[in-house]
Symmetry: C2
Subunit: 250 residues, 2 copies
């Protein structure tokens, strides 16, 4: 029997794959021009997200793009959460993991974070799905493994390295999501209070005196591109790694 979507999902999380037939599918596909495959679903979904954003990725929209009805998707995918996981998996699979080089471990870590960020931003809003993703997915685990290897090669203590991976991943996700949402707000600019830097400066200047520091350092608060802030924060965390004390327990 061909694996049900549930079985595939379990396999992705390396639960008991147990029976799991050889999965050699014979092509039914009938009168269809192109049979619906999981891969076709994922590719089409990426296309939609890339062009219209993650919020546009609905089962109906996806089904329409595949020239079928919504229910047809559920033969290949457990539910939308499962689809998100598949997307995230393929996204992580694209990440290039360098061979750990102790001399440049910082650049290597920054490089991976930047790759992740760019992938997330290429498919706007998809990082939202990354928040809900379980940590036992094989593809995401592969990236973790790569980062862990680099940090360890860099001489970081295992416990510090393990937690740093969490911190970095979470921040990259959050950053990407925030930028995606900001871009979305900016694109549908029929709304008000999506403001340029000038407008923000003007508003800070107009604040009551209860906000002395904000008024005084408005320039600094609004300075830099978003990517500058990304580099700053990643640097902050990595620089902290050298001096981070080993957590008290374990």
């Amino acid at each position: 029997m061909s694996p049900t979507p549930q079985e595939r999902r379990a396999a992705r999380h390396q639960l008991g794959t147990g029976s799991s037939a050889p999965a050699a599918r014979r092509g039914p596909s009938g009168g269809r021009k192109k049979p619906i495959t999981v891969d076709a679903i994922i590719s089409t979904a990426f296309g939609i997200v890339e062009e219209e954003g993650y919020e546009a990725l609905t089962m109906r929209r996806l089904a329409t793009a595949l020239e079928t009805g919504p229910s047809s998707l559920y033969a290949h995918v457990v539910n939308k959460e499962d689809l998100d996981e598949l997307l995230l998996g393929r996204l992580c699979a694209e990440i290039d993991l360098p061979e750990p080089d102790p001399a440049i471990w910082r650049q290597q870590i920054v490089g991976i974070c930047t790759q992740l960020r760019d992938q997330y931003l290429r498919y706007p809003g998809i990082s939202q799905a990354a928040f809900a993703a379980a940590p036992s997915n094989l593809d995401t685990l592969r990236v973790s493994e790569g980062m862990l290897a680099i940090l360890l090669a860099g001489g970081i203590a295992p416990q510090t390295a393990a937690w740093a991976i969490d911190s970095l991943s979470l921040y990259v996700n959050a950053y990407s999501l925030e930028v995606s949402l900001a871009n979305k707000r900016l694109s549908r600019s029929d709304d008000d209070w999506v403001v340029s830097r000038d407008e923000l400066l003007r508003r800070f200047a107009a604040l009551p005196d209860t906000f002395p520091q904000t008024k005084r350092y408005a320039a600094e608060l609004t300075a830099g591109t978003v990517h500058d802030r990304f580099d700053f924060t990643i640097g902050l965390m990595i620089d902290g790694l050298g001096v981070a004390e080993i957590p008290r327990e374990a």
Copy 2:
């Protein structure tokens, strides 16, 4: 004329409040037991989120709790995004901002972050709304002002301080959202692959040899409570602040 919800929202973002009558509302309220006020809406919404999570906060659910229909809410609130903003505003208003003390600026910053985290976790999932929130809300600006004052008192360079606030806020949001989502997954445990630490360890041990570091340091990777990781990351960032170089431009 009483301010429309749109006007109130604009005022919250301190746009041109312009005309804006004295806002002395005469009590219509008619045969209702309790008239629907913005405050009542917010309080009820907080109650729902506290008990059932942010995803349960729908306009219909909220209206039902207020013993009315969905459309009645739109006389007081522009839309759901506006409601989110109101909730976030009240949440931020609860944050206690200490008088800056240069001797303990680190503890003070950590304290604010912890307060934010606890508030976010008290109302599970509400940090999702924080991602979409515009940065010009007065209540959120108040917290930023407080953090900025503390960092400046601690001798941090203005530009570094400004960006650090961004980093810290974003991380606290992300952390809270992740923990909330994890708890949600854990509560509806009818699903599989929500795993205990033991199960996670077992799974790491069963990984193929492509994951040598993950297998070797499985203990470290799964060590600590989530709050330990929070403290670790915040500490990482704050420790990095001392040594952070001023960004190259401006």
